[in-house]
Symmetry: C2
Subunit: 425 residues, 2 copies
């Protein structure tokens, strides 16, 4: 945000442009979702079918065809893609309807999608494994498990006398549903749900429409556990041990959010129910305290003005401007509140190409857009945190953790993650 | 290779085109090497300097500047790039001279380089750490160590009576310098050197000019161990713990090839010296047995017609056509010879974009160029190997191994590699 308030007509023009851009991204994402079946069929099945048909060397062709025939690979891959489409198309239907752009004449105006956006649909399937399948449990335990345990330790359930006594908690005890937790970059919403299940007022925040569509569906539209079979690995041809492993089904969701919340309300009547809410958009834009003089605060409905905990998991390195993100986290927290972080430093904008040097000189008010160049080392980040009014109370380093890794595959990226609990002074 | 011989005029035209393309790739790679200093300065230093100068928010700017000033980051990064340039420019000078394109009027005609080619220069620095530094020793031990131990076990040094007795070797014993080993995709040549040091006739083969330039320099032009300090991590802004670690020097080479060979000759006079040779070009094109009727065999000078061992390390998944590569390996080996493999299945052409379906229909004799679509699973590959006349005599699975990983960084890709020894029947 600029320090100087924008003149009103400029501000209006910017707002109109922002809305136009948001509409473009929204409908382009819907296009990516609805193009999944044809694009995946082309990239996985058709490329290989043509390759087999057109191989010149008769011995190579015979060998390749006998391998692919034996596993019935192409027909099975097509079946996997078609089955994935059942979930993906329902997700898109619900999203289009909820944003009011599902009528045929509106569909005709949806923006086209690029390759990156199309590939992100595939990655939401892998994200669904991570957050909403039994197969993802081990990966979740390392990151979410640590964060949840820490929050529960800091805020014991005051309606459960044994727990409170055992926790040795000091200071004023509060009912958990008065403890407001914001989870920026919450992906498909599993962490907010887990915190709500434990009685907290959990607010997820997510910027990506690709994620938002799927999280909305998982949290609000699934009918029962194991409702969908998905085949997230059909698109990956490398690191595969066998076709059976590549084409294995993963069941989602592993739990049904509504059933779980109802079960909790029924079995723990003494403890007030937690709350779960979701806020769309950029964490910085939404939660950063607006300069009072600009008077252009357009807070999303229902967003927390302040919070007791901000829980960032694999989030801070997605920041276009880490200084702004730190300011937003610090500004959102009540004095005494906690910032709990788990994740690596894979700066998401490091590889964004920004054209020639000349282009960089051209613009002026372009700090937020031109995002490359603010990648900090861990040491620098840890030096910066106290300057935003935090005291680091707990810090664990180099925790091995994967992210949407296929555990049956022949390799994956292993992050050595940092975990810290910082208290707002 | 096609089954039918090409008419002579077509063959001549193809040969002329191939030479033109080779010249283009050669000079484009030289351009990438000689552009390193300016491109790296722009991407690492200038982007960040401008970012700091132009940040709008005074508090962010002050914090960022104080962090970067404290570590003197930009000046140190520039120093690292300038020091890297000392090695890189010497490598390019030697390469340009050895290919006869170093005169000023020839330089003026060098082809331009694209972004990918420019980035590959940076990756040769990381490759130099892997193959030619003390820091790379652990990574080398997992892959090269296994392969070397196996080859030494299969062919004990007959001039060392104790070794032969201890090995329990059966069959006819041979002097090691009669054992011809081909190492396809040998990168910077460390594995061929290690095998030559142990007395074998080792022949490296490499397709990439980026690698060839650096391997030639490491093997033939370095003057002493630790001659160069390089800073391979200055270009990576993610996964960094501190500026000191990011900007640490790695010394190359850890050993001096010429000194080692001389030492061996001096201290083991009874055991004939090993031999080391390098062959440029695509492994399949060069070593695949030519159809006698085509009579267009243009074998590189000095290449082995047959071999006793083919040692592939992180190689087979670079194949544009794995069937052709298997045929080349099988064809090159003498009956009773060994194919020793270590590596993952990261198919290098999986993500090559091939345009629309229509394009795929357009071409005809395009099997070799259109490389996507032949990615096999491990299970399929293991089923295929016997069909090329091999018996797998030893097989170890899921060996964790990294590739050019910065061991001080906050994460990296961990491959679960396969190791096998297959005997040609």
């Amino acid at each position: 945000m600029d320090e100087t308030p924008m003149p009103l007509d400029q501000a209006e023009a910017k707002q109109a442009m922002d809305q136009q851009e948001e509409y473009r991204v929204l409908t382009s994402t819907l296009t990516a979702y609805t193009s999944y079946q044809s694009l995946a069929t082309r990239n996985v099945v058709n490329v290989r079918r043509r390759k087999l048909e057109r191989m010149q060397n008769p011995r190579y062709r015979e060998l390749a065809q006998s391998l692919f025939t034996k596993s019935n690979y192409l027909a099975r891959a097509q079946h996997c893609i078609d089955t994935n489409t059942l979930l993906i198309s329902q997700v898109a239907e619900v999203a289009a309807a909820s944003f009011g752009v599902s009528a045929p004449e509106q569909r005709a105006e949806w923006a086209a999608c690029d390759t990156v956006s199309a590939e992100k649909v595939v990655s939401t399937l892998r994200q669904a494994v991570r957050e909403w399948s039994a197969e993802g449990a081990a990966e979740r335990e390392v990151c979410y498990g640590r964060v949840i345990a820490e929050i529960c330790r800091l805020f014991p359930d005051v309606y459960d006398v044994d727990n409170v006594a055992a926790s040795g908690s000091q200071g004023a005890l509060r009912p958990r549903n008065s403890v407001r937790i914001v989870i920026p970059g919450c992906g498909l919403g599993r962490l907010p749900l887990e915190l709500a299940l434990r009685g907290f007022a959990a607010q997820g925040n997510e910027f990506s429409f690709h994620m938002l569509f799927m999280s909305n569906y998982m949290l609000n539209c699934t009918l029962r556990p194991q409702e969908f079979a998905i085949y997230p690995y059909v698109h990956s041809q490398s690191h595969q041990r066998s076709r059976d492993l590549q084409l294995r089904a993963i069941r989602v969701p592993d739990v049904h959010p509504g059933q779980l919340m109802a079960y909790r309300d029924q079995h723990y009547p003494d403890s007030p129910s937690g709350e779960l809410s979701m806020v769309l958009g950029s964490f910085d834009d939404i939660y950063l305290k607006q300069d009072a003089t600009t008077n252009n605060s357009e807070n999303e409905q229902g967003q927390f003005e302040t919070a007791d905990v901000v829980a960032t998991v694999f989030f801070i390195d997605t920041a276009p401007n880490i200084f702004r993100t730190l300011e937003a986290i610090a500004g959102l927290l009540e004095p005494g509140g906690y910032w709990i972080n788990f994740g690596p430093l894979l700066w998401h904008y490091e590889d964004v190409q920004q054209g020639e040097d000349n282009d960089v000189e051209a613009g002026d008010n372009d700090d937020e857009d031109r995002t490359r160049g603010l990648e900090l080392t861990l040491e620098e980040l840890l030096e910066l945190i106290p300057k935003y009014g935090f005291a680091i109370e707990k810090h664990e380093s180099s925790i091995p953790c994967t992210y949407t890794m296929d555990e049956a595959s022949m390799g994956g990226f292993v992050y050595k993650c940092e975990f810290w609990v910082a208290r707002k002074l």
